[in-house]
Amino acid sequence: MLCQICKENTATIHLTEISHGQRRETHLCQRCAQQQGLGVQPQIPLNELLSSLLQAAKTATDSQEKTVNFSHPDKTCPVCGMTLQRFSETSLLGCPEDYKHFEKELGPLIERTHAGHSHHCGKVPAHAGQEMKKEVELLHLRRQLEQAVKAEDYETAARLRDQIRQYQ
């Protein structure tokens, strides 16, 4: 494969950028990569690091290194329907609840992409706290309602609708 910039030398540096579930590949020769400020060891973008960690998790063996284990790739969020499998393909979560539902699986990944940090210590919105629980519960109820309607279980649907109304 030829370098994309000079179109003369063989490309030896291959960069993959994954964002929004889309892959973009760049192939450069060493000289051009260096001229572009990319060096021989290009900095790994976080998204790529995350994806490679996810890949590693998928093919993880019993090695000591293993920090993530998607032993249940079909584990599903009850609120949005997101699965660990789908997340590992796109690096995108489905709803705020995923952070709680997949906390065990996501925790180590998040720490590794954030220099080992595992807790927020920045800005806190004024509404945080009590409100949080309410939101998650509401999302959950709404999801149940959808399923009840789909299953034509109108009795349950009516009960859920009342519950949702009470919350709001």
Binding site: C95, H117, G122
Partner: protein
Amino acid sequence: MKPAQLANQSSSWFGAEGPGWDIVISSRVRLARNLADYEFLSCLTPGRQQEILDKLSEAILSLSLGDEVYFMDVDRAATLERQLLTERHLISRQHAAGKGPRGVVVSAKESFTAMINEEDHLRMQVYAAGFNLGDCWKRINAIDDMIEQKVRYAYSERWGYLTACPTNVGTGIRVSVMLHLPALKMTGQIEKFVTAARDADLAVRGLFGEGTDALGDFYQLSNQVTLGVREEDVVRELSDNIVPRIVDYEKAARQVLLEQKPHTLDDKIQRALGVLKSACLISSQEALYLLSSVRLGVNLGRVPNLSLTTINELFLLTQPAHLQLRAGKMLDADQRDALRAQIIRQKLANN
């Protein structure tokens, strides 16, 4: 406001003067936020996506931001208009290429933009000309406070502000500067800059062009770690520590060129100026490359009678969508190259 109206004007943060703007062209702070009661974009129905768009655009348009703001419907915009917004950094490439109800709120001076339904429900950014990260943070933090009065953000005690991709979780902050580092490149020391950035967990991107190409020696430097750090500390680290160091490297490299290779330097600058003043066809890549050299020349006082504002303006106005909206029609590559060359010749002749 139609995007096309922007095609002839410079933007307040790109074309303008600001502290240290010879090397640090502009500063930016971005915050990613999501609404608590909604799924993230990947699991959202079009109907609920529209609700978010309505809710957030209404909330933001109702704020008094000290500057006129207007909303642009990105979903309904023409391809060329979307491209123009991208060229002006008002929306991201992903937002331009996205799906479903989405839009952007932009302040008249383009120093504040809020993308709605990009990767997250809300991604807002404040720009400033030159090196001015502290002010960007103060302003966006205040805007964030005001929006928070009107909507409820998805937030968890442990993970902070919840984002669609875990790489942004916590503060959701992205602090970045746009740097012009031609002397480091010319003296083969760009590695120095990349290493400094890497050691500090910062990301480096080429500013113009696709992906990693750093056309014209413009680089964007930004933080990557968003969790377990305080916003003020991220801002301070870049603004008091990393960026001043890189600026010093670039200044030293410029000094070396002036003292040791003045002819090489002048040759590069004057040849670039010569081509720009006389070419009849010029590609956007070549223009970026040559304008970069001339920009260095202006900064070093080697090109009298030419202002940095003019050069900065040319970077912006000669991009493909800008040219076509200015011409009022689609242009093929040859026609674009001809119009670009013509605009550059005129601007440089007037100076």
